[in-house]
């Protein structure tokens, strides 16, 4: 899932300077799971913004709504009957959600409440770590299910480098060496032969931005028309 973190309140306050009627739009998918922009977090943020305005004697109305997803038009349409009443929309979605919301309601200022961090997994309660950089050409079959594009600081496809230090990385001694992890995993799986294969240079063109993708089923429908 996409992992995000709420911006510091001061930063959000600075963005909201001069606006009175605020609608906070939460997102009920990834950022709800990582406790950054779901229903509960929207309620907390709204309470904080109300309290801060009262303490500073500023007029402010904060309404809340959380939709299933901000990255699908169908859910954004649910907001159509409300947005006209507000001076500004504060989106508690990931960067994609904020942009899609701003695109759908392009006559309204849409502000981000979160910093989007990465695609990752929940390590344990309240802790997430990155697992995928969306490189568009997955090689996890060759590396025992451990991604050198994400875990290795140098994105090495044929590792390890000379900087591996008893299982830690020379770039950051706190971080694991991806290629030590890969070696241990392949050893456990009895597939060390995979390490003898030389990986061809990565096709970085495949991850050129901005990515765009149409599902095959829908591509065919287009050409038959």
């Amino acid at each position: 899932m996409i992992v995000a973190q709420r911006k510091p309140l001061d930063q959000i306050e600075a963005m909201l300077a001069g606006f009175e009627k605020i609608l906070i739009v939460g997102c009920g998918t990834c950022v709800a799971v990582c406790m950054a922009g779901g229903e509960k977090e929207v309620e907390l943020l709204a309470a904080q913004l109300r309290m801060k305005a009262k303490l500073e004697g500023k007029p402010r109305t904060v309404d809340e709504i959380t939709i299933t997803r901000q990255c699908d038009k169908e859910y954004l349409d649910q907001l159509a009957r409300f947005v006209a009443e507000y001076d500004v929309i504060l989106s508690a979605g990931c960067g994609a959600g904020v942009q899609f919301l701003a695109e759908r309601y392009d006559d309204k200022l849409v502000l981000p409440a979160l910093n989007t961090l990465f695609i990752g997994v929940a390590e344990g309660p309240g802790t997430w770590s990155q697992r995928c950089t969306a490189c568009s050409e997955c090689i996890l079959d060759q590396t025992g299910g451990i991604c050198p594009m994400t875990i290795c600081a140098k994105n090495l496809l044929n590792g390890p480098c000379g900087g591996t230090n008893h299982g830690k990385c020379e770039v950051d001694g706190e971080k694991d060496c991806a290629w030590t992890l890969i070696y241990r995993r392949l050893e456990k799986l009895g597939r060390l032969d995979l390490l003898e294969k030389i990986q061809a240079p990565k096709n970085y063109a495949a991850m050129a931005k901005p990515g765009r993708y149409s599902h095959e089923a829908f591509q065919q429908a287009d050409t038959q028309e």
Binding site: L44, Q48, L55, T66
Partner: protein
């Protein structure tokens, strides 16, 4: 605001303190304090909860938004939680809520977590006095002026005999009035139409 600042004149300000007490330890300690005829500050409003692990940051923030001058969560001693780790969760929740309060501009010292074992009647009274004194030193919570319940411990609406299970309210607008107006009695119950929306 630091505790070094001069205290507010006591006669003009009686702090309102909310104590969220777990059934098994702190509330039982409160009972014991009563049985022992111990005297403690009458400013403390005790809310009995099943386990401090149930306390959510929003409950703590709401207490302050509604005008409480200090709030404390009192749970079991470490390792004594009836639900294994409820008090450990509450310690984390209180620490988080303190940060949220500091961001807003309220003194985080207004909020605290205490371990109060069931056998510790005198400790219960001590903590109640401690938080009341602390609230007195810090002065009134400025949010009380605009709170939906200006005084007293009355409920905005009678408690539900059969409260509905919490459920996600995706796609439903929640107006600020639903959160802050005494007339609406807090957030609308699930199934109600949101304010201002035609059926």
């Amino acid at each position: 605001m630091s505790e070094n600042q001069p205290a507010q004149p006591a006669e003009s300000f009686e702090p309102k303190v909310v104590a969220l007490c777990c059934t098994y330890c702190a509330y039982t300690a409160g009972d014991l304090a009563g049985s022992m005829r111990l005297e403690y500050a009458p400013n403390v409003r005790i809310v009995k909860i099943l386990c401090t692990g149930k306390v959510d940051a929003i409950l703590l923030l709401r207490a302050f938004e509604d005008g409480a001058d200090a709030v404390y969560v009192a749970g079991c001693a470490l390792g004594d939680c009836h639900f294994q780790e409820g008090n450990l969760r509450a310690i984390q929740t209180v620490a988080h809520a303190k940060k949220l309060l500091a961001e807003v501009g309220l003194e985080p010292e207004r909020l605290e977590f205490f371990h109060v074992p069931a056998s510790a009647g005198p400790l219960f009274a001590q903590r109640a006095n401690e938080m009341t004194d602390r609230a007195r030193k810090l002065g009134p919570n400025l949010l009380r002026r605009s709170a939906r319940q200006p005084a007293g411990g009355k409920l905005a609406k009678p408690p539900d005999a059969h409260p509905p299970l919490p459920q996600a309210k995706l796609g439903r607008l929640v107006h600020q009035a639903d959160r802050t107006d005494v007339s609406t009695g807090g957030p609308a119950a699930p199934g109600d139409l949101p304010t201002g929306v035609q059926a």
